[in-house]
């Protein structure tokens, strides 16, 4: 009994330590954002010695933060919607429809899942350049629409739906689109929500590709826009951190509201990756 209590104590202590390590950068960013730039440099310290929102006001009124916000929202919503719809349709076809080359196609999806995104950046950039999509919505969005893990997760869930369900719908006169959207999608709302949230967060946080494909400030998403704040103010830690805090806000809210679904999706996609 006593040994068990000690074990629990050690585990709890380690968990708290790990949590502190995770939280500290956020805490540090928040504390920095509510101080003035001068104060941050003059009096470095862990504890907040003032509550000053001037850097937030600067970020909102003296940068293109609102435009970047809108760009991020637009990009994330469009990419999420398109990724979910095309991945669902692709997964349904791979799972339920018998056609020549089905297995080969699935192997291609699996193979594309195994290629790191960074390995494709150069070719994607050349392609986007060739079609004149640099500094455009198409340039930001198109390469982000291919998310093999969403197809693989959907396929697993569709495979688990009893085949009689589809056959009953076929006999009822349902075509493939009807069956997908009126039977398979409602049966898999849970995983659809989870995948949508994870995709949204991923696109919202995406930095590397939008950073490469966009040079115009008016086309930037928030993560890319933060780099412009740095350029505009020099080393203005408080203002950079305030933009970072504002950028993270929607993701934090989304996570807090849909915590269970996000955890579910992360665990499922980790399972696929494992």
């Amino acid at each position: 009994m006593k040994t068990r209590r000690i074990e629990n104590g050690i585990v709890t202590a380690f968990t708290l330590l790990a949590a502190a390590c995770w939280v500290f950068p956020l805490y540090w960013a928040f504390v920095t954002s509510i101080r003035t730039d001068e104060n941050v440099v003059a009096k470095p310290g862990l504890l907040p010695d003032q509550f000053n929102l001037s850097s937030y006001a600067d970020a909102i009124f003296n940068t293109k933060l609102m435009i970047w916000y809108l760009n991020s929202v637009g990009t994330a919503v469009i990419v999420t919607a398109v990724v979910i719809v095309i991945s669902m349709m692709c997964a349904y076809a791979l799972s339920q429809i018998r056609f020549p080359g089905r297995r080969l196609l699935y192997l291609v999806v699996l193979a594309s899942f195994m290629i790191p995104a960074q390995a494709l950046v150069v070719t994607q950039f050349i392609l986007m350049n060739d079609i004149g999509a640099i500094n455009s919505w198409a340039g930001i969005i198109l390469p982000q629409l291919i998310v093999p893990v969403v197809i693989i997760v959907y396929k697993q869930f569709f495979d688990a739906v009893p085949k009689e369900m589809r056959e009953a719908a076929v006999l009822d006169g349902g075509g493939e689109y009807t069956i997908l959207f009126k039977v398979y999608l409602p049966l898999n709302w849970g995983i659809t929500t989870a995948l949508a949230i994870v995709t949204f967060i991923g696109v919202w946080n995406a930095f590397f590709w939008p950073f490469l494909v966009v040079t115009s400030e008016d086309m930037m998403t928030i993560p890319v826009g933060i780099t412009q704040v740095n350029d505009a103010f020099g080393v203005a830690y408080a203002r950079i951190m305030s933009v970072a805090m504002l950028a993270a806000l929607p993701v934090v809210l989304a996570y807090l509201i849909f915590q269970r679904r996000v955890t579910e999706a992360v665990m499922i996609s980790s399972g696929v990756k494992g």
Binding site: E164, A168, P186
Partner: protein, 358 residues
């Protein structure tokens, strides 16, 4: 004709699971496909539904060739073993699903669903989700979903297998009533010969993708074409005893069982090909055996007393199990040796290939 199959076959790769099946099911008839697991009965049903393509032959429904017609356009409705109800939809919406797809006017759809619900006593459950219903109610919803489509042919794929014994008996009666009420052609697949006997106008016994025999339930019971049908139809199953033909006497064939304690049986078989010395198997139903001091001695291993009837599970000297059905006697016979006999007209004879000799 409700459903006609001509030389229908089905292959999965190299495996031939349905072999050259032909059958006719009259309009309004209740046909049952019965057979052991893997005999092809469900595949045959799915081929009629259009869920499996045929490898050869033709399928006609109401005299129209539907071999290559889409499932939804064949005029069939199917009830699945797993019910296949859409869990996210209410009972009403489950039953109305096909009507909505067919763009049936709302008022007409409501009327059709309510009528089906009335027939199936589901009026009070239309707003519930399938998960809120019992197994029997779910099965009724599945049947209701079929009824609203007003199909030419109802197809049932082992629909009662997931129900407990009591509910199964109840649903069996309800299906019979339903068939009489709506008068549609019905085809029912089961591995349970009791269901087949109680429901069918006509039974098709399948084995290895081949129809072994088709006919009215009692015709199959009384007059099986082969050893498989004789053994499959009837519960408890028919007794089979290896025997040799030793001659003829007064029109009957005289047969002698093999082994140390050989015993003679007579069978009313006219087949002239049944020569002396032929190796055969004789089949006798448990209810046709009686205790008779002049009969064949067997040892009673277990006696099952069911009240009105009792079953003696006995063994011959060579180890062959023989089941004897008795009525009106409650003597405790466990462990005793008794003698059994039967009338020649109740002894069926099968050749070495299992074909009946008449």
């Amino acid at each position: 004709m409700g459903v006609s199959l001509r030389n229908v076959s089905k292959e999965f790769g190299a495996a031939r699971v349905i072999e050259d099946v032909s059958m006719d099911i009259p309009t309004g008839g209740f046909a049952v496909f019965v057979g052991p697991s893997g005999c092809g009965k469900s595949t045959l049903l799915r081929m009629i539904a259009g869920l499996e393509e045929t490898s050869g032959g033709t399928i006609a429904i109401e005299d129209t060739d539907v071999t290559h017609v889409e499932p939804a356009e064949r005029g069939v409705a199917m009830v699945f073993q797993s019910y296949a109800l859409y869990p996210h939809l209410s009972v009403f919406d489950n039953m109305a699903f096909s009507l909505r797809l067919a763009k049936t006017p709302r008022a007409k759809m409501r009327e059709m669903v309510r009528e089906a619900a009335r027939i199936l006593k589901l009026d009070d459950h239309l707003d519930k989700k399938p998960s809120q219903l019992s197994g029997g109610q779910r099965q009724r919803v599945a049947i209701g979903r079929a009824i609203v489509r007003q199909p030419k042919v109802f197809l049932f794929d082992e629909p009662l297998s997931n129900l407990d014994a009591e509910l199964r008996v109840q649903m069996r009666l309800e299906l019979t009533r339903l068939h009489r009420q709506i008068g549609a052609t019905m085809i029912y697949v089961t591995h349970d010969q009791v269901e087949a006997m109680t429901l069918a106008d006509k039974i098709f016994v399948l084995k290895g993708g081949i129809v072994q025999q088709a006919g009215a339930p009692l015709d199959l019971y009384d007059d099986p074409d082969n050893r498989f049908v004789a053994g499959f139809i009837g519960s408890p199953a028919m007794n089979f005893i290896a025997a040799d033909v030793i001659g003829r006497d007064a029109g009957d064939v005289v047969l002698r069982t093999r082994g140390a304690e050989a015993h003679e049986f007579r069978a009313a078989v006219a087949d002239p090909g049944l020569a002396t010395g032929a190796e055969v198997e004789i089949g006798i139903r448990p209810e046709h055996l009686r205790l008779d001091a002049a009969g064949m001695p067997v040892r009673v291993e277990v006696a099952e007393e069911l009240g009105d009837v009792s079953y003696l599970y006995t063994r011959m000297a060579d180890g062959t199990e023989i089941i004897v059905e008795r009525h009106g006697s409650r003597d405790r016979l466990d462990g005793e040796t008794v003698s059994i006999a039967t009338d020649p007209r109740h002894v069926l004879v099968f050749d070495r290939q299992g074909q009946r000799l008449r």
